[in-house]
């Protein structure tokens, strides 16, 4: 690099520093960081990475994915909430983050209002799975036995206070069935617990999918608003008039993001949803793509937050 171009470059940086408003028009002119508050390799990490890759094309900048896992996503979310709202630090939102706030966890940020909402990209598919040789053929059988023999049926989920756990609490409250919760350490641990007969059913994300195909596990119901296109014969809880929580996957940024920057990101990320690699990854993980504009994402999240609070109040665990 010669002296002249160095001076020009320095002047450019100086100009950018002096005129922050003008920067929005040039946005993005440097790589963007995407905070994933989960460990590498999980479903959020895998989907966010392919989506970010596809969004790079329309943004013309690299998106660097950083994993900041820990404390049920609170560590990564706190880092995101603290970042400058300039569009160069964005992140993923999972329902786990705001559910933690409802359970008495002290968070250094407001779980809803500390963020700007860019776009939605899908729901994790959560289902109620039993072993293939289980005596229940339908979700109604399972509920009926839960009412007839309260506490005899044991079930597993990824852990206390997860979407999976709260949805099963809502199910029990609405149907008066009584099951015993045996919390597992993460979704992956639920499958061996079911296969080994240590629990009778699991309410879990699609970790059961390969075992449905091998006919070792049967799916009794899904908790998504509609039936899953992969399992068209399996009813959704909402068909039965039962409440369920969504397992949200969205792209967010710190609150106070300039609207034109937010719009650029929203356009890029929504466009990225038509990417083949993204769709394949969602299919492989049994996740359901859903395209929503930022404004509706916030409404959806607020609604989910209210429903979760209601469930916790019903079961007497609201804090």
């Amino acid at each position: 690099m010669d002296m002249k171009s160095q001076i020009v470059g320095a002047l450019g940086i100086l100009a950018a520093a002096m005129l922050p408003q003008a920067a929005a028009a040039d946005y993005p002119d440097k790589p963007i960081t995407l905070i994933v508050p989960w460990a590498a390799g999980g479903s959020t990490d895998q989907t966010a990475r392919v989506l970010a890759k596809a969004a790079e094309a329309s943004l013309g900048q690299t998106i660097v994915v950083i994993n900041q896992p820990g404390a049920s996503t609170s560590i990564g979310m706190a880092a995101l909430a603290k970042a400058a709202p300039d569009g160069y630090t964005i992140g993923t939102l999972s329902s786990t983050s705001y559910l933690a706030a409802l359970q008495g966890r002290q968070l250094p940020f407001d779980p809803i209002n500390a963020f700007s909402y860019i776009s939605y990209y899908g729901d994790n598919l959560i289902g109620i799975a039993v072993k293939a040789d289980a005596r229940w053929n339908t979700i109604d059988d399972l509920i009926a036995e839960g009412k007839a023999k309260p506490g005899a049926i044991k079930y597993g989920t990824a852990g206390v206070g997860t979407t999976q756990h709260l949805t099963s609490e809502a199910l029990q409250f609405a149907t008066k069935a009584k099951f015993v919760h045996v919390p597992q350490q993460g979704s992956a641990a639920s499958v061996p617990a079911l296969l080994g007969g240590h629990v009778d059913f699991i309410m879990e994300t699609s970790v059961w999918a390969p075992f449905i195909e091998s006919k070792e596990v049967r799916l009794l119901a899904v908790t998504t608003p509609q039936r899953s296109k992969m399992y068209p014969d399996v009813p959704s809880l909402s068909e039965k008039g039962l409440k369920s929580l969504r397992s949200v996957q969205a792209i967010i940024a710190p609150a106070g993001l300039p609207e034109d920057v937010r719009m650029k990101l929203e356009t890029a990320f929504r466009k990225a949803m038509s990417d083949k690699a993204f769709q394949d990854t969602m299919d492989r993980l049994g996740m359901v793509p859903l395209d929503l504009p930022g404004a509706e994402v916030k409404k959806l999240v607020e609604g989910e937050y209210a429903s979760a609070r209601e469930i916790l109040q019903e079961i007497g665990k609201a804090k």
């Binding site: 560590i75 919390p183 195909e213």
Partner: protein
């Protein structure tokens, strides 16, 4: 059985294609190089190098590279345990005990060589067993539920108190401290935070890797700084590089037994390499004619555990490949690597992609051979590391340990943990308290606590379920026997002669 061998042969022939061999070579070298950096154990190494495998020409090539990186990183981790007392991962903690003592006595060469050869033999045994009986054992693995884990964790605890010799009172004290530290964080059963004092960094509990590196690596550096007289970490002359005839005869038994123990322990999801190496170490100490040498550089204390953890690591692929269940952090990262190559490990893998299944198994074997071929000549080079002036080496290790810790989760709190436990480890050394039992208890605390309460939920509030299930009953009986035998031998000894002097 014959059919399985034939398929394995087919898999091996695929892996021996020149391009695949090249991937194996690149993988082993890179894996070893990164694994040798203090604090960068297999999990981090694979995570860091995973993107490289995207560019391999074929799924099989990528998987071979992954397996080679894995074995390379494992071996790299053992290298730093032996030379610098910095374990790259929990499973190498046991290797630190005698391996580092050997290095201090100028026997780093034989320790490194026996670790490599033991790992290779154990890997071979485990790969063959995996090919022959793997799918059968997978079914058995899921019968291991909370009551069995509880029994197994108790069993591990009964072994850990007397891990590195010395007085049982000190050992048990360290076990109790480890258990307390292990309970920090969100309680799995109720979701309530315990002993976190609202510090977000420890909501999930104290992170193992910075704690390990602090207690062992940083503490060792601080300790070395006190000794101004020494120019380098090594005070004596470096002896021969390769094991002597006597080393061989002392290592043969431990390697064989370690391979077998490791395989069975590795099958259990979550049981993992650390339990395997702990069990092997304790067993060898019991069987040895010279148990007093353990903790002071016994080669059997390196050969056994190193074989056991390699065998366990290979066996842990069985639940991964046949059930799609990653049993530990390493297999979880490998799982992600396979998914990226569009290979879905699980019950259908053997049916849907038999080529890949046998290819993966064969690739582990190729990775193992490649590692041995590359690393034996490098033993001399690694040993030279000990000649680097102490001030330079210490500063470098510290720097890399900090970088390594930060890179795990991009969280500065982890660096604080590293330093804090470095200080604690230093003080423990001053008080002649051994950090080994502490770290074992720390790891087991979480399994013990969660499994106990899951068992009680399964048993409608009663603990009897632990005694009613045959498998957990057997493990508990063995644990009790070991505990009684240990107490017996200790108090028996006290009666014969006065209290043994502290070491």
């Amino acid at each position: 059985m014959f059919e399985a061998l034939e398929k394995l042969g087919y898999g091996i022939s695929l892996s021996l294609e020149p391009s695949n061999l090249l991937y194996a070579a690149i993988g082993s070298v890179l894996g070893t190089l990164v694994g040798v950096l203090p604090g960068l154990g297999p999990v981090t190494t694979i995570a860091v190098l995973l993107p490289l495998t995207y560019h391999a020409g074929s799924p099989l090539g990528a998987i071979i590279m992954l397996a080679s990186i894995y074995y390379g990183a494992m071996y790299g981790g053992s290298t730093t345990s032996i030379l610098l007392k910095v374990p790259g991962e929990a499973a190498s903690v046991i290797t630190c005990i005698d391996g580092y003592q050997m290095a201090k006595k100028g026997r780093a060469g034989p320790a490194l060589a026996i670790a490599a050869i033991g790992s290779f033999i154990a890997g071979t045994v485990a790969v063959c067993a995996l090919a022959l009986v793997g799918p059968l054992f997978a079914k058995f693995a899921v019968t291991f539920g909370p009551p069995e884990y509880f029994a197994l964790a108790l069993f591990g605890l009964s072994l850990s108190a007397t891990l590195s010799g010395g007085s049982p009172v000190r050992g048990i004290t360290m076990v109790l401290v480890g258990l307390l530290l292990g309970l920090v964080g969100i309680d799995t059963i109720t979701g309530v935070e315990r002993y976190t004092f609202n510090i977000m960094a420890i909501t999930d509990g104290i992170d193992l890797v910075p704690m390990l590196m602090g207690l062992f690596g940083v503490a060792e550096i601080l300790h070395n700084l006190e000794d101004k007289s020494r120019g380098s970490l090594l005070s004596t002359k470096i002896g021969r590089l390769f094991p002597s005839r006597q080393d061989w005869s002392e290592s043969a038994g431990p390697i064989a037994r370690g391979s077998v123990i490791g395989f069975f322990v590795g099958l259990i999801p979550g049981g993992g390499a650390i339990l395997a190496s702990l069990m092997s170490y304790t067993l060898e100490k019991k069987l040895s004619k010279t148990p007093e040498q353990f903790g002071h550089g016994a080669i059997a204390g390196v050969a056994g555990p190193e074989s056991a953890n390699n065998s366990a690591a290979t066996a842990s692929f069985i639940p991964l490949l046949t059930l799609g269940l990653p049993g530990n952090a390493v297999t979880a990262v490998l799982f992600a690597g396979l998914l990226i190559q569009n290979v879905q490990p699980g019950p259908l893998m053997l049916v849907k992609n038999p080529d890949v299944f046998w290819g993966v198994i064969a690739s582990m074997y190729v990775g193992n051979i490649m590692l041995l071929v590359l690393n034996l000549p490098l033993v001399g080079l690694w040993v030279q590391l000990l000649r680097v002036p102490s001030w330079l080496l210490s500063a470098t290790i510290l720097l890399i340990a900090i970088f390594g810790t930060y890179s795990l989760r991009s969280n500065f709190a982890d660096v604080t943990t590293l330093m804090l436990f470095g200080g604690i480890g230093y003080l423990l050394r001053k008080a002649s308290l051994d950090a080994g039992p502490l770290i074992m208890a720390f790891i087991l605390a979480n399994i013990l606590d969660t499994a106990l309460r899951q068992s009680m939920l399964m048993g409608d509030g009663s603990l009897m379920i632990v005694l009613q299930r045959p498998l957990s009953l057997i493990i508990l009986l063995v644990a009790t026997l070991i505990l009684v035998a240990q107490l017996w031998s200790y108090f028996g000894r006290v009666r014969v002669r006065p209290l043994p002097s502290e070491t």
